[in-house]
Symmetry: D2
Subunit: 338 residues, 4 copies
């Protein structure tokens, strides 16, 4: 840890700082600069709060020299984490190759989800998405079929033999999701820490969406909440951040994908449908995500977008999905070959 | 509802739209413009989803003519909502006059919170704040004293005879908060809808903080989640939004305060401490909040900011609070007199 | 144009609006809705200012039905604009295939720019970039070699036989740029309208960078300033927008690239170097840009990044450029094949 | 300057860094930490570029210990700068007391500006604003009366005996502004450095508006461009920054006002009209600005807002201005008294 003091600090302030630091049981080495005094602290500095130290009179700044080696970091696990699912024999891996997750925003009926499950599988998707519990901005909007929706998802999953991902919003629902392969934490709940802690106690893969106002560090720290509970099966999902630009619902931050792949061993996928809200650019944004290094994409697909109970404007058809899967696969090869 | 069609729409597309609209049991009146056809729909158009209708071929745009009259709106209740608390006889009102909420970020010990409770009351605060359950970005940071913290808060409250507000993060904790006067929903949980729904079932005042990426509409809709459950005692709290500017932790959006006072009957308060993260500008930002029309401010106060276990950098002393209370009261008078 | 009135508008306000509208020489057709009156205006409505009309008592909203057919729009020119340069015989096209622009942030010496010119050409670049006039945030930072830098650029261009792009900051410098093939307008000058108007009077290609706070509409309108003066050779360049995320210098908005390709016939390129400020992610961001539909990329290359007088942190070496050019070309093919 | 090296840096990389640093003629003192080496550089470190040094292998970070003492800083001039104008005998001071600048967005006709000049003066304004050269997003919008507008402004100024401020967009126009008391640099030109340098050569007060994407540092650096040319008469104007929130045109950043007053001796004013774009909240935002410490406000006033050629929606009447002036003056007193 490095602490910089004003050169003209008075003796009393100086002694106060020294006393405070020493109460933390660390060693201090000091260097005089022209107008400043620089102290290097060694030992167990983790308990020293930078912001508190910075608030003492005479302290110019104070910062830790290295991040703690967190469970999400590449230092902790140099190899890429691969999350395997094979509820029906066939193996699906997230974190190796290209994983396509597709399906409707909401489960609307048993027929709807069963039909789409087969169609997205045929189009090349390896995981089915579908919301039963829907977080809607307005309490007067359709809130999902809830328990019933989960049942329909289970049947569609079994019929089409495809693993499913669905969003969980309430700690009390964990048991309901017994037959769901991947539990999604939505952007609005990314910092619902009590939920994250509970999900750290189970062993199912968790697909964690980035909140629109979360920095990369905050995003990783939310994954850390799950991992430090013991559940290391976390999939990160970039889905757009908030900015002044309103042509798209959010601003898809693909540089974050490239940075995450450098900093963490966890799989990173991208949701171009919610990020942009525009069906017409889901294809180029899916390809760009793959070219940026994403391990997969999660795309909203509806057999009849105009009849969707929510987010119809951003849904594509199974036919378009098929084209995207092919191109994305080619783009992945093109961007990886040496 | 108004729907605008391209003038050169083909007959098939046109009939498809008409059929879809008529399936909603509304009436259509049509006007031809030079290059467009404008349809005005009347009747119960609430069930027509604008985004779906906009996605039909040939539709230029579609929008509802009036917002639904929501529970938070001035149409629903033209008079300002006043929330009264008087657990100790003395009446405290939020939504009339100036309400000062003050206290430490976290409850750190029984002595700490008891001491501050008396000091902030003496300085002019009418509600004590103090976090027992702390939402921290990192799972490795101090998470609050939790159940124990609530007990200390209860004692400090009884001794100083001052109502308290504290943050609730988990549905399962509601009973623990029995003796807490106001339940706070933090910015990170503003869209934790399952929590909001539960808080709609009780009758305690809820202090709802705006998420840093929430629009004014989204903020009001979260209040609506609580209100449509039957709990109309909601206090809105602006605490900074996210922007590119990083000199302050967030960007305090005081225009939102002025707009909220126009659009809703609910009380609006401002938290300049978390919004800016800088103790040195808590005073001007508190005064600006009051001048902008806020019904109160919530300020972090610590007897010894440098010993605070979190957010020491943004805490002021009880002495500074006293000065702010006096000035804020004068600013309120100055900005209201005709 | 559509104007919606409150149903309970009083006669006086209504007559005032009608009179104001009629003074603009347009026709009015009226439809009564349940609680509103909708008026459709036809004729030359271009002169009616929506914001003025919206400010009349009783007007709920007012908007134009179609954008004017602007010079940048696909309606104006359905075919993609291709800008050709061939100062040395060999033809370089921007707007068809993949255009790689590369070179240092600043021209630092005659040797430096001559060396890099040859290296980037050998690596596959078709245009050389290099700043002679540098817009620097601080007046105390290196401001570029100015006139001298232009001379060095001219020599490097002639020796390596490669066209060059360089930034112009002052109307009075246009003559100095006589031998520069493409004039760049930097992000900070995107709304320096007097400069744009002057550049509309010449016929050289203009590379217009998006300001970090400019919406897509504002960006296109700045291109319109140049085009309506008669210069239709405009190249748009996305280089990151401002957002709360500070891991990267700006937030590269690749959805804007996809949207621009839908809305305008002008070529669109991407500058991943300035957008991110991180050399280590220039490759994935270049590939993502191409996958999103960009017509090219502009990349900062320096023979010895650590000796660069500015922006060394984001520069890559000619060797890395060569790898990117190959991969980008493959990604382009992969994303375009049917 | 402090440079932190990885403890496991290899000898070759280390020597490369040392050699590079020593080429800058500074002294190095070194301290070993547990896993790092910290070097403190003294002497004339101003020429060492942090970003270059950070890019060497083995360097963790590098930063300067103190900002250079810039002309805008409080270190340079501890007393508040007061800018005095008295073209007609009566003294107007910006930077002491409360300065009210008011007038229309654009000069529209001789009658219009003459009428408003008298009205705003009667309402309590001490400076008249009015745009002759208008920076408009679209080239097809009204661009101002230009030279003619300046003449009308001059006459209105002389008749009402009130100093005027008007925007300059082009270096070549400086002579035209001979009789204009304060030259305004608009937000779009805040980083038009060639213009700023020219304005540094004259001695007229310059009102510099903050660009919507400019940090406080960038804003001060633009002021520095003017000041280091010799013109110390700079007035800073906060007018809203860009954020995701679109209820208001921009997000008025009043914390920036409080921070600017701490960091610079220059006067700071606020433009609530352009910041919010909503006439109905100009009053609370003006009062909030004053409470936050602003030295004045600049408000758009139009005798008949609905006839304004631009920005009618945000203009208030002279009558409303009069009320604001009175309240603002009371708020200033309330927020300053001890």
């Amino acid at each position: 840890m490095v602490v910089t003091l004003n050169g003209n600090i008075d003796e009393k302030s100086f002694q106060k700082i020294i006393k405070w630091i020493e109460s933390h049981n660390v060693k201090i080495k000091t260097v005089e600069s022209d107008r400043h005094t620089v102290m290097v602290l060694t030992g167990d500095t983790a308990l020293i709060d930078e912001t508190v130290l910075s608030s003492f009179d005479g302290v110019l700044n104070a910062f830790h020299l290295s991040e703690n080696c967190t469970a999400t970091s590449r230092e902790y696990s140099p190899c890429d984490t691969e999350i395997e699912l094979s509820p029906f024999g066939e193996k699906v891996t997230v974190g190796k190759g290209l994983c396509i997750i597709a399906g409707p925003c909401s489960v609307e009926s048993e027929e709807q989800i069963s039909e789409i499950a087969k169609k997205v599988k045929a189009a090349g998707a390896s995981v089915l998405r579908g919301g039963a519990f829907k977080p809607r901005t307005s309490p007067y909007s359709f809130q999902g079929l809830r328990e019933e929706g989960i049942k329909y998802l289970e049947r569609a999953r079994a019929e089409a033999k495809i693993p499913v991902v669905s969003e969980i919003m309430d700690i009390r629902h964990i048991e309901l999701f017994e037959n769901i392969d991947i539990l999604q934490v939505g952007a609005r709940n990314m910092q619902n820490y009590e939920l994250l802690k509970e999900l750290g106690k189970i062993r199912k893969p968790i697909l964690l969406k980035r909140a629109p106002s979360a920095s990369i560090d905050e995003f990783l720290m939310s994954a850390e909440y799950i991992m430090c509970g013991g559940n290391e099966n976390v999939i990160l999902c970039e889905r757009g951040i908030c900015s002044f630009e309103k042509e798209t619902r959010n601003t898809l931050d693909l540089a974050a994908v490239a940075l995450l792949k450098m900093r963490t061993h966890l799989p990173v996928i991208v949701d171009p449908s919610h990020a942009t809200g525009i069906a017409g650019i889901v294809e180029p944004m899916s390809l760009a995500a793959v070219a940026a290094g994403a391990d997969g994409v999660m795309i909203e697909v509806h057999s009849r977008p105009q009849d969707a109970l929510c987010d119809g404007k951003q849904s594509i058809t199974p036919h378009t999905l098929e084209k995207i899967v092919k191109k994305a696969s080619n783009v992945k090869k093109a961007s990886e070959c040496q």
